[in-house]
């Protein structure tokens, strides 16, 4: 036997051995694999097959053909999408709303946690916390209804402004007040719940640090700034990077329950556009192309963010 053949035979044997051990391992873990099976079926059926179904963006959808049997049309729908002004409008709206939410909304829970931490009376602290969680536990449908009520002609905002002699206004139908409403209602709904993680980080700070600072004559603001804030910076960075990765998600549930045709110019985002034109308007392939674009950009952003986090510190990365 030549040397070459021997190496080859050796390799084959090793391959078979590896396969053998793999199958043996599978058999040894058969009970566990059976436990895993329902979840795997759900992931394949409801996540991965729809993922493969993205091909519909490159096909002309027909009822008979369905997702996988419809005829291919290449990039036709992408071309149509990138030629339509509407797409750039909803893309821009998504980015703008999301950016504003991050810029104005992201610090909200951090500030809330810092302030709540300064409430020394435990009973009050607990009460404020419990109250602040309330909006988190109701859906955007409910919050949408509440926002409509508060901003209605008979609502509390118009009531207060009427007290100063202003005419009642329909805020939700005004383009320039729509974004402030979106940001405010988002902060209102999330600030309490979002602060949990920061408060948890704050409670793990060594109390000796505060005592030492106090002895050195640092007041409460300086202790907050020089001890509390730096101690939770790592949490802030992780959550910030995670949020950046989702920048194309402007919040479908919220917008969909707040907007109306009068403010589409500023309020219509990719997700609402996909729902309206796609599901309600039957333009499946065109809107699937918009969806795919959004998902790809989102995935790219997330991978970039993850590389950055990995560089910064291995512990921070998500994936």
């Amino acid at each position: 036997m030549s040397e070459q053949m021997m190496v080859a035979a050796e390799g084959a044997k090793r391959g078979a051995g590896a396969r053998g051990t793999f199958l043996k391992e599978v058999y040894r873990h058969r009970e566990y694999l059976l436990l895993l099976l329902p979840a795997l079926v759900i992931f394949v059926l409801f996540r991965y097959i729809p993922m493969a179904g993205i091909v519909i963006a490159f096909k002309k959808y027909t009822i008979a053909g369905g997702l996988f049997g419809s005829p291919w049309v290449g990039f036709t729908y992408f071309e149509r999408l990138f030629d339509s002004e509407k797409f750039y409008q909803v893309l821009w709206n998504s980015i703008r709303i999301s950016f504003l939410k991050i810029a104005i909304g992201f610090p909200g829970p951090i500030i809330f946690a810092l302030l709540l931490n300064e409430v020394r009376q435990v009973a009050w602290k607990k009460s404020f916390q419990t109250i602040s969680y309330l909006p988190h536990f109701v859906s955007w449908v409910v919050v949408g209804g509440i926002v409509r009520d508060v901003l209605s002609v008979h609502g509390v905002v118009n009531g207060m402004m009427g007290f100063f002699g202003a005419e009642p206004r329909l805020f939700l139908q005004e383009m320039h007040s729509f974004l402030p409403i979106v940001i405010t209602s988002m902060i209102w709904k999330n600030i309490g719940w979002g602060s949990i993680i920061y408060l948890a980080a704050i409670t793990s700070i060594d109390p000796d640090l505060y005592e030492a600072a106090e002895i050195d004559g640092a007041g409460r603001v300086r202790r907050m700034w020089h001890i509390t804030l730096p101690s939770i910076t790592h949490v802030i960075i992780i959550l910030f990077l995670l949020r950046i990765g989702n920048i194309l998600e402007a919040g479908f549930d919220q917008i969909f329950n707040l907007y109306n045709p009068l403010v589409y110019d500023v309020a219509d985002i990719i997700d609402t556009y996909v729902y309206r034109e796609g599901i309600s308007g039957f333009q499946y392939s065109l809107t699937a192309a918009a969806s795919l674009f959004q998902n790809l950009v989102g995935l790219m952003l997330l991978l970039m963010v993850n590389v950055v986090t990995r560089r910064m510190q291995a512990d921070y990365s998500v994936v």
Partner: protein, 304 residues
């Protein structure tokens, strides 16, 4: 009389500086202001629901319904639609939570074994679904192709396996001391016996957290219902609320009489009553269960 000081007496003795006063003022103003902004809208809705239609708009700032009446609730509860929506919501919440627990718990237990073949690959493929999806259109069309349009299973099956829940549970299982299981395996117990007899009892904290998250998710979900079960006999509460609060369809949904429609105030009290019928259970329960929700956030969020 001697002053009795709390134990770190030094701090209590110290005079409050101007800074302390300002910080406290800011903190309390923000906290009380925010709390009022949360409570007041819910409170006015509650008052509206107990008001007579004529009274809804009569007072600018309403603190108490005068006169108080349960007319709106009686009215709303007499409509079939509310009963149907309640039934469907309770059904999806109970069934959905049980299925989620069963599927996620067993998958997490399997993945907690580091020796499981393809463990890493499966975990990665699961996590990938958190960040990338087929999108609304492909999912919607596929659900139609497998017969889940106008089918309640469309609300229960897809959320049953969530990468997030599974990883939280898996991390919990990995923290259980292995000795607990080993002795049982030595006695020849199967994986299932160990799971039921040993793992399930010690996992109640994480099960409670996931069960509550899942229950709130199901109770509050509306978009999947809008897509897959929009018909009247499959209507869920949140979708009914959306029809009433956002789409202003109370009249069609509840078959209101012409008289009732004449006064838009009737619609207002009915809206408020419907809202409270839908969110009542959550508002009543969450203050007592919040620690379970919070615990999950701590164990889950940073280890993902």
């Amino acid at each position: 009389m001697r002053l009795r000081l709390p134990t770190p007496g030094r701090a209590a003795l110290k005079r409050r500086t101007l800074e302390d006063v300002i910080v406290d003022a800011v903190v309390w103003i923000v906290m009380i202001g925010f709390s009022i902004s949360v409570i007041y809208p819910f409170w006015t809705m509650l008052i509206d629901s107990f008001s007579t239609p004529e009274n809804v708009y009569s007072l600018g700032f309403r603190l108490w319904p005068r006169p108080a009446t349960i007319e709106a609730y009686r009215d709303v509860l007499s409509k079939d639609t509310v009963g149907i929506a309640y039934y469907n919501t309770v059904l999806r919440t109970v069934a959905g939570t049980l299925v989620t627990l069963f599927v996620s718990f067993s998958a997490a237990y399997a993945l907690a074994r580091r020796t499981l073949p393809l463990n890493k690959t499966i975990t990665l493929l699961m996590i990938f679904t958190m960040f990338f999806s087929g999108g609304l259109i492909a999912t919607y069309l596929w659900m139609g192709q497998i017969g889940l349009h106008n089918n309640r299973l469309a609300l229960i099956l897809p959320p049953a396996a969530s990468a997030y829940y599974i990883i939280i549970m898996r991390n919990f299982f990995r923290a259980i001391p292995p000795e607990l299981e080993e002795s049982a395996f030595m006695d020849g117990a199967s994986a299932y016996t160990v799971l039921l007899r040993i793992i399930v009892p010690v996992s109640m904290p994480v099960v409670a957290t996931i069960a509550l998250w899942s229950a709130v998710f199901h109770w509050d979900s509306w978009f999947d219902a809008l897509l897959y079960t929009p018909k009247r006999e499959q209507l869920v509460l949140q979708l009914m609320l959306r029809r009433i609060l956002i789409e202003h369809q109370a009249s069609n949904l509840f078959d209101l009489s012409v008289d009732e429609l004449e006064s838009s105030f009737v619609v207002e009290t009915i809206k408020a009553a419907t809202l409270y019928i839908a969110i009542g259970p959550i508002i009543l329960l969450y203050p007592f269960l919040q620690r379970y929700f919070v615990k999950g956030i701590m164990t889950g969020s940073l280890k993902g």
